[in-house]
């Protein structure tokens, strides 16, 4: 297990290096990107020094990592400003430090992801169980058939359809406008219900299929036959025996999908104008805001790597046959 975590940390370090390199070495001139088109060479040169872009690339990376753990000071002489740890950089485009920008966007994405997660995982697994119990009958075909339809709908098409019919044409809901659930829970729910539904519809289909396939594989295992032969009730056989062993791939997928969303539900956030991390990232790309892009990619990658480790830990808890090395 220690080894697993160490590998995770190694990958994380590599990820930060590659990300940093991609977005600081690939663009022709990062400093020129700090101030748009109406920019004179003096300002660019000044920004280059202020952000430390005049230093060799590896020094820039060291400074960047140091900033994350200990904070850093930008500029020199009188015109300096502090960036406290965890400092993810400074966005000239927004005239703000990146860390507070992300902290402001993160709760939106977390609410969106968690809500959608519950909304797809529970019905998805239940429908998967249902389909596996009705094997070869029309109920299975209908469930799997509609799952494949849902699976094939591009998420932005579902989102647009929901937005246009529910909000614009039928006007059942007001136009989405994000607000914290602690400030105005009703408006929060009215805003979130369609984004949740969009994500849930897209992801649920996959879980129906996965659960059904997993269960069908485990049903043919000897210990299931034993459990049935013991005279256990079918519900107990499914819940305590089949599902438990068939659960590992579902947990993996769920963990990774949740982590992927936490790094920014880009499409859904764009369609419903939710000010989350995904939206922040897309805006940063359109503005060529390298500091924000680097930080969001790094954040999303960290979520994925962490989820991988957590999922591995969960395996041992769920499946008694797995022992951690």
């Amino acid at each position: 297990m220690i080894r697993r975590i160490l590998t995770g940390i190694l990958i994380l370090i590599l990820l930060s290096m590659v990300t940093f390199l991609l977005f600081n070495a690939l663009p022709a001139d990062p400093a020129a990107l700090t101030c748009g088109k109406s920019c004179n060479p003096q300002v660019i040169a000044a920004n280059r020094v202020r952000l430390g872009l005049d230093q060799p690339l590896y020094m820039q990376y060291v400074e960047f990592v140091k900033g994350i753990f200990f904070g850093r000071t930008y500029g020199s002489g009188t015109a300096t400003f502090e960036c406290d740890a965890p400092c993810l950089g400074y966005s000239f485009r927004k005239g703000e430090q990146v860390t507070p920008l992300i902290l402001k966007a993160l709760p939106v994405t977390i609410w969106l992801s968690l809500g959608a997660f519950l909304l797809w995982l529970i019905p998805g697994v239940l429908l998967g169980i249902y389909a596996s119990r009705r094997r070869g009958r029309w109920q299975e075909r209908v469930t799997l058939g509609s799952a494949l339809v849902g699976y094939s709908f591009p998420s932005f098409f579902i989102g647009l359809l929901l937005l246009f019919f529910v909000v614009i044409r039928w006007q059942w809901l007001p136009y989405p406008s994000y607000i914290s659930p602690f400030e105005n829970p009703v408006q929060f729910l009215q805003t979130m219900v369609l984004p949740w539904l969009t994500l849930a519809l897209v992801y649920m289909a996959f879980y129906i299929r996965l659960t059904r396939n997993q269960l069908l594989e485990t049903y043919s295992e000897d210990y299931i036959r034993t459990a049935r032969a013991k005279g256990l009730k079918e519900g107990v056989v499914i819940r305590k025996h089949a599902l438990r062993a068939g659960l590992t791939p579902i947990v993996t997928a769920a963990g990774l999908d949740l982590a992927g969303l936490l790094g920014g539900a880009i499409i859904t956030e764009s369609i419903f104008s939710l000010p989350g991390v995904g939206r922040l990232a897309v805006d940063a790309v359109i503005d060529a805001d390298l500091a924000v892009i680097t930080a969001t990619v790094l954040l999303a990658g960290t979520f994925i790597i962490t989820a991988n480790i957590v999922v591995d830990l969960l395996y041992a808890v769920i499946d008694p046959r797995v022992r951690l090395a």
Partner: protein, 335 residues
């Protein structure tokens, strides 16, 4: 059954169809068996015919559109209503004999022609990417499994690293930097976009297949026919690509059919978000994002590209499912 020196490649050749005459085997070759199962699946057959039609249209787009007297780039102000802010004249987004699916607001470009050209762009990008993914993924997977040692570890870490990247985010984030670089080395803006999408799809797509193939090769390596080949002193390259590769076609085909719709949808997403295909090249994703502002007056503008995109992705998924079932050696999953 007589002793064949290379049962591995006989099996594989049977699957590929150029050596199905391996008369020593009773019954059907795996390929014939798979085809028979596939043919019995009506939904899969409908999907296949539809996809072949789409592929045909994509290949011959310029001729088809030309024969109909249409053009995806030319503006048609006469189809628009200047009094109403240049929205299409007539019902359903200006559907008429001149414009079978209506015209774009503001420009009057023909939607049918743009839809067909969009198919061409979409399928070109997706299939080129899949081709490279298959070549790279298979080669790397085979080499990693067969060579083992430090090379395997290195490739393993590399795939770990690439899989740790948030795919969609990196796709979007790399768009400006990479297209700039490609334009700097002489690509036209249009081809720089194609190039960047394909590069990113391939770079972040091959590790999944490489992992899959590596696992398959590791188990194949223990099989007798490989041992026999080693014992007869066959060179490594022959063992890898003549003995192993033919046995890997089934997972590769399945992976490719699953990848295609994913990449078609991904390209649409990129173009929808404004970082994929750009004007004036037609793209389904861009049509969808353009249609958003006109939904209330011209809903057909949203539904046409959306429905086509859905149908193509759906058909690929139906067909992919059927192929997976048909190639499954355990056989009777769905019949």
């Amino acid at each position: 059954m007589s002793l064949t020196v290379e049962p591995g490649s006989a099996e594989g050749a049977a699957l590929l169809g150029n050596g199905a005459s391996s008369g020593d085997f009773a019954g059907l070759s795996l390929r014939a068996l798979a085809w028979r199962r596939l043919r019995r699946d009506k939904a899969a057959m409908v999907a296949m015919v539809f996809l072949l039609l789409v592929a045909f249209i994509a290949i011959f787009t310029p001729w088809i559109v030309g024969l109909m007297g249409l053009d995806p780039y030319s503006f048609d102000q006469e189809a628009l209503d200047p009094a109403l802010g240049s929205i299409p004249l007539g019902p359903w987004g200006g559907i008429s004999w001149d414009h079978p699916l209506g015209v774009e607001p503001l420009t009057g470009r023909d939607i049918f022609a743009r839809l067909l050209y969009g198919a061409r762009v979409s399928l070109f990008i997706a299939s080129t990417s899949v081709l490279f993914i298959v070549i790279i993924g298979t080669t790397v997977g085979i080499v990693a499994a067969y060579k083992g040692g430090w090379l395997d570890t290195l490739i393993g870490r590399l795939t770990d690293l690439i899989l740790a990247f948030p795919f969609l985010l990196i796709l979007i984030a790399l768009s400006p930097v990479l297209t700039q670089r490609l334009e700097a080395i002489g690509f036209s803006p249009e081809w720089a976009r194609f190039g960047y999408i394909i590069i990113v799809f391939v770079v972040f797509g091959w590790p999944y297949l490489a992992r899959l193939i590596r696992g398959q090769v590791l188990s194949l390596r223990e099989r007798e026919f490989v041992e026999a080949a080693v014992a007869t002193g066959a060179p490594t390259r022959r063992i890898l690509f003549k003995e192993m590769l033919p046995n890997l076609w089934a997972p590769i085909i399945v992976y490719a059919t699953i990848s295609l719709p994913t990449l078609i949808a991904a390209e649409a997403v990129l173009s929808y978000l404004g970082v994929g295909i750009i004007e004036p090249t037609p793209s389904w994703g861009k049509m969808l994002s353009d249609s958003v502002r006109y939904f209330v007056i011209i809903p057909s503008y949203l539904f046409i590209p959306g429905t086509v995109l859905f149908l193509v992705v759906y058909s690929f998924n139906v067909f992919g499912d059927a192929i997976r079932d048909a190639l499954d050696p355990r056989g009777s999953r769905n019949n």
